[in-house]
Amino acid sequence: MGDYLPHTDEEIASMLAFLGLSDLDELFAAVPQSLRLAGGLGLAPGEPEPDSLAHMEGLARANSAADLVCFAGAGSYDHEVPPVVRALAGRSEFVTSYTPYQPEVAQGVLQAIFEYQTMVARLAGLPVANASLYDGASALVEGVNLGAAASGRETVWVSSGVHPHWRACLGTFARGSGHEIVEIPLAGGTTAWPDDPARAGTGSPPGVVVAGYPNYLGCLEDLAAVRRLADAHGATMVVAADPVASGILRSPGEWGADVVVGEGQPFGTALSFGGPYLGLFCCTLSQVRRLPGRLVGETVDVEGRRAYVTTLRAREQDIRREKATSNVCTNQTLMAVTAAVQLGWLGTGGLEEVALRCARGTRYLRDAALGIDGVTPLTGTTPVVRELALRTPVPARTVVDRMAAEGFLAGVALADLVGADGDGSVDADEAQHGLLVAVTERRTVAEINAYLVALDKAVRP
């Protein structure tokens, strides 16, 4: 039996007496007898904390994936997270505080978010960033919601180069929002935007246009063309950007994006089996009153001292209720604080260096991998930065399984992302044989070489 309850029997007795009750059950008098649980919940009885810890350690040991050298990406990357970042982001004042509703005792979190907003806005090349959303997918969904509200039109053209799971989420939530989601196929790795709506298999022109940068196959989309397309239809341009790639790529803002969304996991958050991650969201000043979620602004206190506070609250659910721009309340603040610390650690030079090292490793691995019999580029366009799609002669899932035995998480089989039949980004054959490989700054040349040797063996029929 374990718990963290302070009450002694004497205290319970005295408190009940104070309430004029004779036992704890009476506290639940308002609950109809008919509904009360006779027995318990049917769970095992409580166990001492060390027993539970041992159990969880046992489960952790059962994840062989944790021991593999990681070449998988698809939106989740194995980047360097130094001890100093873990130590600072793990400070219990950041971990165990609530949403900063009382700014006088929440300047720590508020200022950290303010710094985070500044860093993320600079990355995106836009003037405003919010205090975080759940993850890349939710950021994209919110971005599309904002975009549609801004353009006043419900049709959304989404490049099939956007992460398949994010597109899936768009589809799910469109059931509620009523948006018409039109997926635009890729040709040779980049989006083949139709020149007129009819060709898009939809009558109506887009109110929102969404592209990835780079897209999930690692290819660089022509964002100038996307901007032109958006202008042609008076649509909002939303870019789902890789924030690490932004270290060496022209920012989406410079390309003219109205909204930039992304996955912030690469900034200090572990792979974590997919969560908690960090939804990055940036937009132009003109859209700030449609911004989803919390926004921290600088102001002053009664004595004129610099202070920070959540602002433009009138957008939010607790005030606007059914008219709110979004329903988000709890977000991913701790990951935002973590990102602020990680980006503070990287600084101007470090972020560029990380992006550059990813690109070098990717180039090195690609050049060598394409020398392996039967391994070919999956896309016509050549990927840069840290994600590339290869076509393997045997099914990619087989390659992944075989290479695990050699100590590598070889990458992500496209079929696991888009399904066996493929989608607008890849066809069924590509889905089956496509292997999405990611190389981060943590991968050494020795690891990459060993990976190539293993790959050479793994792709044999």
């Binding site: 005295s14 009885p45 165990t96």
Partner: protein, 502 residues
Amino acid sequence: MGRAEEPTIFELSEPGRRSWQLSTTGVPEWGVEELVPAPHRRREPVELAEVSERDLVAHFTRLSHRQFSVDLGAYPLGSCTMKYNPKVCDTVAALPGLADVHPAAPASMTQGWLALLVELEEALCAVTGMAATTFQPAAGAAGELTGLLLMRAYHDAHGEQRRRVIIPDSAHGTNPASVSLGGYAVTTVPSDSRGCVDMQALRAVLDRDVAGIMLTNPNTLGLFEEDIEEIAGAVHEVGGLLYYDGANLNAILGVVRPGDMGFDIVHLNLHKTFATPHGGGGPGAGPVAVSSRLVDFLPGPRPVRLGQGGQGAHGTAPRYGWATPPRSIGRVHSWHGNALVLARALTYIRVHGDDGLRRVAERAVLNANWLRVRLSSIYDVPFDRACMHEVVLAASTLKRRYGLRALDVAKRLLEEGFHAPTVYFPLVVDEALMVEPTETESLQTLEALADALERIASEAGQEGGVEAARAAPRTTPVGRVDEARAARVLIPTFDARAGSGR
């Protein structure tokens, strides 16, 4: 310490200074121009702060000293369940075997994670009286929207186009916001004099256009909806579904289950009931549990037991895998939800177990009622009857008599080393002070909190008392903050300061 103004990290920056150190890789050092085609190449590096690791540490450590937290003191924030977050869960969340697992790794290599999720799903189903659970929703609001999409899918499957969802006027803001995003119109029902859903009013708005009703029970007034069975019957009668907002589940753990009350869909706030830390605003986790008739619509893929798990731990074939429900509404998260938060929750559930969870509810309700009775002669108690895990007080009398508002009480309390209660919510109560002590606060702490609230009220009656309260807090890192100015002169980033005259 903690009172001195802290410059932003940008003001600590010096060009050329650095913290970062990256491992030696031996990869050829091609230049960026050899790697990135010219038009895509960034001209200027992203300007970030350039500080030494030492200054980075000092900066964020000093910021942490300007932040209140559960670890520093009581946090009686109504509706937020700010209970103690066991440190063992931090250790669990940091286990490399859990934290270093890629979400796309094949099931055969992530059996531990799948087993963990299945075990947690079974526990949450037991707690709620539901048939299955999805872990994808990252927070309560995400759970709400997921639940509403499930509602829609259910009605669609029955060829029905219902347009309205009913919500009590005391509901949390995320409820109506989610309803809109779910494509439904909100119909509000008033609370009756006892603080519960007004049955008459409810019956009046019930018809076959109603997709369902969203309730939290105990409700946001901290009161148990005694007519819940009648409500359930009425809603089901018109073919509607009952949605349970689990934010207040802490009060009834092991006492009564949403499923037994007639609910069809339940979201849980693991960051409330199951003690996962709030992280300054997140992350949380908002799993959605549903009754058997909704299982087929759940988001996918879902972690499942494979075949006869009988194979046992030594069996070579994997015992857990992924499956997508036949009529799934689709994905609602990039991956599988906030996994590490889920691991924390399972740890918490295992430590407490069947008996411990029941104790949690008992102690939470005991603490809230002790405060209610202790304070009832000092503050208004709009609905003065036994409450559950939280009690809604009001400063309306104090305001009428002395001009002391709920806000002033809250700010004054900050000076006493406590966090403030939730104020002005629920909206149906004027000058509301919503107090949720949680079960992990000791009687001494409750006494100290009550004494502080009593002192604040009595000061109001004394010379200069109200002025003092209006001027509070003075011992905090900053004094009362000018929120209006923040909205008027928007400075959302350090770069925006320039134009702002700061």
